[in-house]
């Protein structure tokens, strides 16, 4: 195979000098294997690489553009830079690594002495899925005793995950290759054709096999274009739609009562007085904490394990040992109090989906077998995003689909979550050294208030801070002036790097060597090998920090052999699926399948990582938030509230086929296809405002504004305006969409893990400011 690839003539180039297999992984979640054709130390071509298992050979426009145009882009950073004028002034001094290190070390040391070591903060996002790249800044922070700002909430992906954690103890996905066996595909906020197009071929197999595809999305996405039915939904109203569906499914008895009895907590008894779940200790002094059900066979309360036939519905008066009485109902009936209000007509008045369509989708989903429900992050980027996934989990559970082959509640498969959440302590905290953790979403408040402690330096890696966070504008105005050091490790002069004190050039993953990659969308672990030498003096993230510590005289923990480190971190990873990967196979093949029980079906044993071991659809611990039963709450900036009436549009900055976040949007291969930033406005909204295609509008709310050209188009629902996300600041004549964003604290989410950045929960208005100009 390798020989034949290397013999392949490339027009105008001839035979490549070598062909190297590596991994493309710019946080699109796909992690495609890439064969890189190299001539004279330049990539002249890439092709999809094979895996140890067939069916995963793929590549896409982004991967091609990345390899062909980003490495040698004119804006590619090649040397360390220290600013030579004002911050953001665009004047730089090219320096040696040692000079850059001395500049940084002097300030880090001074900060540590004056304000404590935690005053030096680090944040890493997911711009590179290599294990080293994802974890090494955390390691550096620990070594310095600095602050690690968490990434989870800033990703805007945490809400749904928390919904799954609360209800099932986690999430996962049936293997996407099994899509072809499903009969009904309900894709909710998962625009697979745009954002997971590497997986799209599995979905197409399902369509050929006769499956029906329904796409729920405020936009007529590429996925909706392939669907049998598009459900156009008001942004952030999934819960209302699901409640309407549950109303139909329960009234028409289309749910699976035996499954609900056996695998959810809905048969448990809930006290009428306080909404807490009834426990044995409530009725017998010294009793256990066991949750109780009403056993219809013996007509008594007892633990679920002992009951012959737990009642799913009903009100019961429970006698206590001391002669008292406790009035209870099942958690199902408590939940039905909410669901029963949401007739399809009522649900429709909120979510904008016609009542008859809610009824039809409910019946179709409940009666199809097997019915595959697939979500992604689009529907959870709202203030109460955790409830969106909780809602769809409730639907899937009532219909008996969780833990079922070719059905399930599906999000992402793969092992990236393990990399992000199961730290290899011996690696990230050498010698037990620990820094402080602080919520990334609270970064601005921490910097500005200096409470509970001061932050004096910030170092970002793998992060498009300026375009992907909602507070870069505020950071420049209020945060940056308080810092004496802002370091950005980057490949290109991004809009965030432009304001740095020191910019450090990072290799792309084609120039890096010896890292392993576990992504989303499949269960292969892959090896990253160098295909071309580093551009200029750029270094990988490990080497950047290692050089600093060496210069500071603290290099003893930073002298790893790259190959040995790669092997060590893989073999010792806390996730047994990862540590079991055979190193020799991985080295030989460039990829290996983890020893997973196949086919992979999440929760196939019907054991859930919750306190009851069941799917917990009733959440007594969230009574204080009014969320013990699945409850509808308006998005923060709903069009149905006062703020919405002032700013009548929901602004969605959606993910799309042409770029992963901001990574690809300065590459000619991409912009040739995508043109300029464009705002989609429905004709019904454009006409009364005198807005036509090509007009320049200002999009604004109380936090900020930007200007953009309009495309009047039916593919976005009235009341919603939408645009592809990731465009850099320089693509706009004024402002940036992120200036309109916000992260108000969500107390319930903070109680679980952390507030999720509600990236799509943005109300705005538009006004025409010009005609079709350049």
């Amino acid at each position: 195979m390798t020989t034949s690839l290397e013999d392949r003539i490339i027009p105008g180039v001839g035979k490549p000098d070598r062909v190297v297999r590596t991994v493309c992984s710019p946080n699109c979640t796909g992690c495609c294997g890439i064969n890189t054709f190299v001539k004279d130390d330049r990539i002249v071509k890439v092709e999809p690489a094979s895996f140890v298992e067939p069916g995963y050979e793929r590549i896409c426009i982004k991967g091609i553009a990345m390899a062909m145009e980003r490495l040698h882009h004119p804006d590619r950073l090649t040397h360390p830079l220290i600013r030579a004028g004002e911050r953001g002034g665009g004047e730089w001094r090219r320096v040696s690594w040692d000079e850059a290190y001395d500049y940084i070390a002097e300030r880090l040391t001074a900060n540590a002495e004056r304000f404590g070591p935690e005053s030096n903060a680090f944040v890493t996002m997911s711009g590179n899925y290599g294990f080293k790249a994802l974890t090494v800044a955390q390691r550096a922070a620990n070594c310095l005793g600095g602050t690690i700002l968490s990434e989870a909430g800033l990703t805007s992906d945490l809400g749904g995950v928390m919904g799954a954690l609360m209800t099932m103890g986690g999430a996962g996905s049936n293997e996407h290759r099994d899509l072809k066996h499903a009969k009904y595909l309900l894709f909710v906020g998962r625009n697979i054709a745009d954002t997971n197009h590497s997986e799209m071929h599995f979905l197409l197999e399902a369509l050929h096999a006769g499956a029906k595809l329904v796409a729920v999305d405020p936009r007529f996405s590429r996925t909706a274009a392939k669907a049998d039915e598009w459900v156009s939904i008001e942004p952030g109203t999934d819960v209302a739609m699901v409640l309407g569906m549950l109303n139909v499914i329960v009234r028409e008895e289309l749910f699976k009562p035996d499954y609900v009895r056996a695998h959810t907590n809905l048969p448990f008894l809930v006290r009428d007085d306080d909404g807490a779940m009834l426990r044995e200790k409530d009725i017998v002094a010294g009793g256990s904490w066991d949750l109780l059900v009403w056993d219809e066979a013996t007509q008594r309360p007892m633990s679920a394990a002992q009951a012959v036939r737990p009642a799913l519905r009903g009100s019961f008066t429970i006698d206590t040992a001391d002669g008292g009485e406790i009035a209870c109902r099942t958690a199902f009936d408590r939940s039905w109090d909410v669901w029963s209000e949401f007739t399809p007509q009522h649900a429709s008045s909120i979510c904008g989906v016609p009542a008859e369509q809610i009824e039809r989708v409910a019946r179709d989903y409940a009666t199809a077998d097997p019915a595959w429900l697939h979500v992604s992050t689009g529907n959870q980027r709202y203030g109460n995003g955790h409830t969106a996934w909780r809602a769809w989990i409730t639907l899937a559970a009532l219909c008996g689909n969780i833990g079922k082959q070719y059905a399930g509640f599906n999000s992402d498969e793969g092992l990236l979550t393990s990399v992000l959440t199961k730290p290899l302590d011996a690696w990230v905290a050498p010698g037990g050294k620990r820094g402080r953790h602080h919520r990334g979403t609270k970064m601005m408040d921490l910097i500005v208030s200096e409470q509970p402690y001061a932050i004096k330096s910030l170092w970002t890696t793998c992060y498009g801070f300026a375009t992907q966070s909602p507070f870069f504008k505020r950071f420049l105005a209020e945060g940056l002036p308080r810092l004496d050091l802002f370091v950005v490790s980057e490949q290109m002069m991004t809009p965030a790097a432009e304001y740095a004190d020191v910019v450090l050039p990072v290799v792309s993953y084609y120039e890096d060597d010896w890292d392993w990659v576990a992504g989303f969308q499949h269960y292969f672990v892959q090896l990253r090998r160098r295909t071309v030498p580093p551009i200029g003096e750029s270094r990988n993230d490990y080497d950047i920090f290692a050089g600093l510590f060496e210069r500071m005289g603290k290099g003893e923990d930073w002298r790893h052999d790259p190959e040995q480190l790669c092997e060590y971190t893989l073999k010792n990873h806390p996730d047994p699926l990862i540590s079991a990967v055979d190193w020799e196979t991985l080295k030989r093949e460039g990829n290996a399948m983890v020893p997973l029980m196949r086919p992979h079906i999440p929760f196939r044993d019907m054991k859930f990582m919750t306190s009851s071991g069941r799917i917990e659809l009733y959440q007594e611990q969230f009574r204080a938030f009014g969320e013990e039963a699945l409850a509808w709450k308006e998005p923060l900036e709903s069009r149905r509230t006062d703020i919405g009436r002032k700013f009548p549009f929901s602004l969605i900055t959606y993910k799309h086929v042409h770029s992963t976040h901001s990574t690809h949007l300065m590459l000619p291969m991409i912009t040739d296809q995508l043109g300029r930033p464009g705002l989609e406005v429905n004709p019904a909204d454009a006409a009364p405002r005198g807005i036509a295609t090509g007009d320049l509008v200002e999009v604004f709310n109380k936090r900020g504004s930007f200007r953009i050209h309009v495309q009047v188009v039916d593919s976005v629902r009235p009341g919603t305006i939408a645009m592809p996300q990731g465009w850099w600041q320089r693509a706009f004549v004024h402002g940036h969409p992120s200036d309109l964003g916000h992260i108000p604290a969500n107390a319930l989410q903070d109680a679980i893990i952390e507030t999720n950045y509600p990236a799509y929960d943005v109300a705005a208005d538009i006004i025409r400011v010009g005609d079709n100009a350049a």
């Binding site: 027009p11 197409l204 007529f220 590429r222 593919s715």
Partner: protein, 189 residues
């Protein structure tokens, strides 16, 4: 007989433009001009606009390259015999050494598949990745397509993948009225 042809599945195509950049990558070192483009169902290359009106919409995408027409207007228009239909596989071949850059072929082509390349001063078009054929691989557009929308092969061979697709799926050619007998077959979206 052998007739090499593209079969493009419009049910599969998601309009991601990977074929376009894949083609650029494979041929960029030579001339850089795009030999394949993708338009949407209203013939829009960039600002995609579905058919219909909200919420009853339809959208599909159409990749287009040289149709290797059996009665190719470009061949007839070329004054220097730089273009001809090769008998052994039915591919329309462009010999840039013979091309004088008069652009009559581009005017004659009903599919806008021929372009004038300013760098070489000649015509330019898809050559079905002739340098790849015989290497047990496919044209680059077909290889890189993430949704397997593009197939290339001999439609006179009943065992070929392209033939099996044509035998089982509704399909059509573009611009049948031109009489050029184009050899890209589009499977129904």
């Amino acid at each position: 007989m052998t007739q090499q042809a593209f079969v493009i599945d419009l049910k599969h195509c998601i309009g991601c433009d990977t074929c376009v950049v894949g083609c650029k990558m494979e041929h960029e070192q030579v001339d850089g001009a795009p030999r394949i483009r993708v338009t949407d169902s209203r013939d829009q290359p960039v600002m995609e606009t579905p058919r219909g009106s909200y919420p009853n919409l339809q959208q599909y995408w159409v990749p287009t390259m040289c149709h290797n027409c059996v009665d190719a207007p470009c061949v007839k228009a070329c004054p220097t015999v730089a273009l001809w239909r090769r008998d052994e596989d039915g591919v329309v071949v462009l010999d840039k050494d013979k091309c004088v850059g008069c652009q009559r072929c581009a005017e004659a082509c009903p599919y806008e598949a021929l372009h004038f390349d300013g760098e070489t001063g000649t015509a330019n078009k898809c050559d079905t990745c002739a340098h790849r054929i015989g290497l047990e691989t496919q044209p680059m557009c077909a290889l890189v397509c993430p949704t397997n929308a593009i197939s290339y092969g001999d439609i006179d061979d009943p065992e070929a993948q392209v033939s099996r697709l044509l035998a089982t799926r509704e399909h059509q050619i573009l611009g049948a009225s031109s009489g050029a007998r184009p050899q890209i077959y589009y499977l129904e979206p």
